[in-house]
Amino acid sequence: MKLAAYYWERIKRQRPAMFGLGFIIFLIILATLGTYFTKSPTKVNFDEKNLPPPGYTVEHSMYSAQNESFITTLQEGTWEHPLGTDSMGRDMLAQLVSGARVSLLVGLLATGIAIIIGAVIGVTSAYFGGAMDDILMRTTDVMMTFPFLLLLILIMYLFGASLTLIILAIGLTGWTGTARLVRSETLSLRTREFIMASKALGAGDLRIIFRHLLPNTLSSIIVLATLSIPGAILAEAVLSFIGLGDPTVASWGNILNAGQGSLETAWWVAVEPGVMLFLTVLSFNFLGDGLREAFDPKGE
């Protein structure tokens, strides 16, 4: 615990990392509690379509059959929809909150899966060496070389788009970096005295792996995990943007997809989810970088 307090002191001094942490906490609160305060993200209301955020006005041209001409009306945003509505009249704020939930879920779970698989493969590969190392590392090479986005698109297209599958697909394909990192760290740890000592004391393979090798690579794993979360979030956003995301939930990628189609009538639909995505990715990058600095024994 004293160690945690020490690292906390070191992170606290880095402003970007603290900004990142602050925004991530805000996002978590938004994703868990936000839905109790917002409207339904899927409620369609064509009377209120393409409403701008309050303070902005937009012109809407509509063909009127009565007058046989186009009527231009000025539409002003209302506080009823603080971030406006999309082309189907759905509340943008509610959709963004739902998107935050999706992004965090994908980012954390997919990265979690990837880290666990990567750590197990990396440590097994390095600890046992020989043929095991060869097989596992060639598999890692194949996985690393596979065009990542194409693989995800292929999986989503072939096996149907659902949030569970997205998380699994990103997790099951994203472990290669962790595997390599854990393998190289384990290789250098393996011959150290304390490992030899515990071997001499009769510790089994599993005990050495779980009590000594993995805990010693933990700080690198935490940094890598933090820096991998944006990748997973972006992968989901790209898939949803292409139209291969889960169509039943509002995610930032889905909204962006709709937003690109209505750039000329409703710019805010494309702007808002992107800003959220950008800030989220930036926050995790800031935090990851800060953690790396804090864990680095050379830095002061």
Partner: protein
Amino acid sequence: MVFWVRSYIAKRLLHTALISWGVMTTAFILMRIGPNSPADKYLAGLGAGHNVTQVVAAIESRYGVDKPLYDQYFSYITSLLQGDWGWSFGTSMPVMELIKTHWIYSFQLILLSTIFAVVLGIALGIFAAVRKNTAADHAVAFFSFAGISIPNFWLGIMLILIFSVKLGWFKTYYDTSLPMFSLENLHALVLPVFTLGTGMVAGYSRYVRSAMLDNLGKDFVRTARAKGLPESIVIRKHVFRNAMLPVITIIMLDMGSIVFGGAYITEVIFGIPGLGWMSLKAVFADDYAVVLAVTLIGAIITLLFNLLADIAYMYLDPRIRYE
């Protein structure tokens, strides 16, 4: 060339072939265990009054997908080794023809973006390194963090919103009718290049900065300064040249992964008919042969650039020896 270099390259080429085979096989299995049949797309366009089972059987036997899986696999490999990449039934032409008409669009986008990113990235990196810990350095650092974090497909949409929709300077879509070597074409590629290049600029400027700082602290730099060389020569000849070593490697590794990474989505947003755009269309059309070919090509490009990066490193730094 020294003997060990030749045997090293031979070993790496063998490795490349092995990994490509692994990628191809994985893609092959993935596509065949998927629930879709190439007949689906034909059936969707078929009018009533046909015997469906008969049509499906006819189509499946025509494309050989009714044979056992291992049979299809071996015949695919055999024809691949003979230089036959298969037949695209989505577009009714050989896969190789299809790739030949599309690759140039990816190539021009990636080439221009790389030039843009390398020039600007190196300039910013040097600028930040020689002004370490000043406001200018912090500004560059902030820009590179923002550049790395900004999702490039959103950046593309925002550029379209501002410069095409609001200001009207560019078309919202890439115009394929423009001649390749013309100013109009260059003009049409400004937004795509910016979309793809921004993240790269941000990444390169960080690498260049840290590589420059690594070398600025070295003894030979102190010697160069001590013997009275002007600072510009020290930076240019002693620091910059050494700092370029890791940077060149990074750029080459980047080139390999960009074809089906950043360029892919940029092509989709701007409607540029490159390999990424083409392969996405092929996925949605169940065009197996095209998807397989594109996956394989993507893997080979990545592996060859990895090899090229290592060779370049060896050539530029003779101290490097690979086992």
